[in-house]
Amino acid sequence: MVDPTPKPRGRSSAEDDPPDSPSSVGYTTAHTVRLATEANPFPLEIGTRSIGPIDVEYETYGQLSPTRDNVVLVAHALSGDAHVAGWDRNAEATGRAYRTKHPGWWDTVIGPGKAIDTRRYFVVCSNVLGSCYGTTGPSSIDPGTGKPYGLRFPMVTVGDWVRLQARLLDALGIERLHCVVGGSLGGQQALEWALAYPHRVERAIVLAASPRLSAQGLAFNTVGRHAIMNDPLFHGGDYYGRAQPGTGLSVARMMAHITYLSEEAMREKFGRRLRNKERPDFHFGIEYEVESYLSYQGKAFVERFDANSYLYITRAMDYYDAAEQWGGGDLVEACRRIQSRLMVVSFSSDWLYTPEECRAFALAMCRAGKPVTYVNVPSNYGHDAFLVETGPVGHLLRHFLDGDQR
């Protein structure tokens, strides 16, 4: 049995797996593939629009087996990218110097001997359409105008992302997935995979995600977008070549970070401690530790993310509703489509995708007569727990992936 409340993973470099570690995938190189062209564009779910060209940035680790049956597709969350594990060999050259400080966002569970063992599995992760990490998005050049799309970029959906990932797998000659896994918005992609391509998915793992965002979640996304769109530097989304609406984007990020932590986690991590001082200075600069943390998160995000991408991706998150899409509003009906083994994992203090919502989703599977594994991991880390609780999450991933086919 694994201790359900292991030591939390810090974000310090000391605990990162260095590139020469035997359990690290080492240095990584991203690939880019053109999956749609201007002449042969990619049809989108919303409206009659299609888009081309589309370039997709992706990374792979491990070896594809001769029978191509060992593929694990990882789907990233709102601010994620294709760089899931290891150390980016070209971080400086591609203007992503921040990547030299840390390995990929889920390096704790992906690598030789780790939960998603790259000696056994061929891991694929691609950056979603509309993002800003190498896949076509609002900052890409619109062939119609020769300028960046900005808000002329079409609305994209979780369904579009998954269909584009399927197109990537087609290009790689991969028909079936041993497993698709993701947390948060990535978890919704994993679910969408099981629904849209029931016969291509053997296993799906949905971490800290439910079939749709709650009203509270919609509300937070709304405020984030307001902050960005009301930043004087936003210029209707046409800020490329100028300063980006950094204040708005950092406010959106700061607020999102509040929703990623729980009240207990904030209390434990920061409490009411003052930042490097004995008593307050009575001004509007940084006084408290929690202020310093949020401010840092906001600033760091502006350096690595595009405000328009934030708008598009949060909108995709808002629109996603698996029941509406696949069951005419009835989640049980939608679940009847699923042919894969499904594991849903919630975290006790997550208030963005609550245990109650995740449990209700798992119950819908039961009602649909489908086997399901539902685990509620006790954790104080809120929504972030899916990244932080590497002990129990790693155990669940490893065993669910390796479990016999039945």
Partner: protein, 250 residues
């Protein structure tokens, strides 16, 4: 008030008038043998098979049926049924360690508290709902029994029989909470909070439109069909039940 010892014959008559039939039917030799075995418990009888219920359940359920196992522990039964009978199995378990073991075995498990009910599970959505050695640990056992018969077409319930003669002996003559091979924990660390006897269960079934379809007993280390007198002789019982009203029968 008399200070004389009770007249043994009068006492025997008095006791017999309150005893269940099984006890009254014992011969003197049988009764003596029981007392002898109770007092030299360490000598033990034949070793009762571990998880004897699993073998029975495996024989009982048809191929490719659906089974919901409430309090499925580490998933051993469902694994067995999946392998031997290709059942569509679903476990429900609360203990995090057991849940993790289910995942390791590839057994689908829903982490939930049984006392919170099976709310959300559809009516008659499983062929069998199993409640193995769990009934007596529940806060609201009757609610769970009724729920299992709502969700399943048949229920399979097993529990330790608190009227087994060893239990009676401990309580009646030694004046202590029984500790037997099937009730191995002391009073302070037992998970059992609603102990019951086979007769209690039969009484409850009769009063609640629940029909006993099939019954098995573990007695003297052997598994056999339930028979009269087992309220005294059986250490454990396994009963297959279904509702005799409302729901369509299988």
């Amino acid at each position: 008030m008399s200070h004389k010892h009770a007249d043994p014959a009068a006492l025997a008559r008095l006791l017999l008038s309150h005893m269940d039939g099984a006890l009254a039917d014992l011969t003197e030799a049988q009764f003596a043998a029981m007392i002898a075995r109770s007092t030299s418990r360490a000598a033990g009888g034949p070793k009762p098979p571990l998880r004897w219920q699993d073998e029975l359940i495996e024989k009982m359920v048809p191929l490719r049926c659906s089974v919901l196992d409430l309090g499925c522990g580490n998933g051993e039964l469902l694994l067995r049924l999946t392998e031997c009978k290709q059942v569509r199995g679903q476990g429900v378990e609360l203990d995090p360690g057991a849940v993790f073991e289910c995942v390791a075995r590839g057994v689908p498990v829903f982490q939930s508290d049984l006392d919170a009910g099976l709310k959300g599970f559809s009516d008659q959505s499983f062929d069998y709902v199993v409640l193995e050695e769990t009934l007596q640990t529940l806060h609201r056992p009757v609610d769970v029994l009724m729920e299992m018969l709502r969700v399943g077409r048949r229920g399979i319930v097993s529990f330790p029989n608190f009227a087994h003669w060893q239990v009676r002996f401990d309580l009646a003559f030694r004046g202590r909470m029984p500790v037997t091979p099937r009730l191995p924990r002391r009073w302070y660390d037992t998970p059992n909070i609603h102990l019951l006897t086979i007769q209690d269960f039969l009484d409850w079934s009769g009063e609640n439109h629940v029909r006993i379809v099939e019954g098995h007993a573990l007695a003297d280390g052997a598994v056999r069909p339930l028979q009269p007198g087992d309220n005294l002789h059986a250490e454990e019982a396994l009963l297959v039940v279904e509702r005799s009203d409302r729901w369509t029968q299988m």
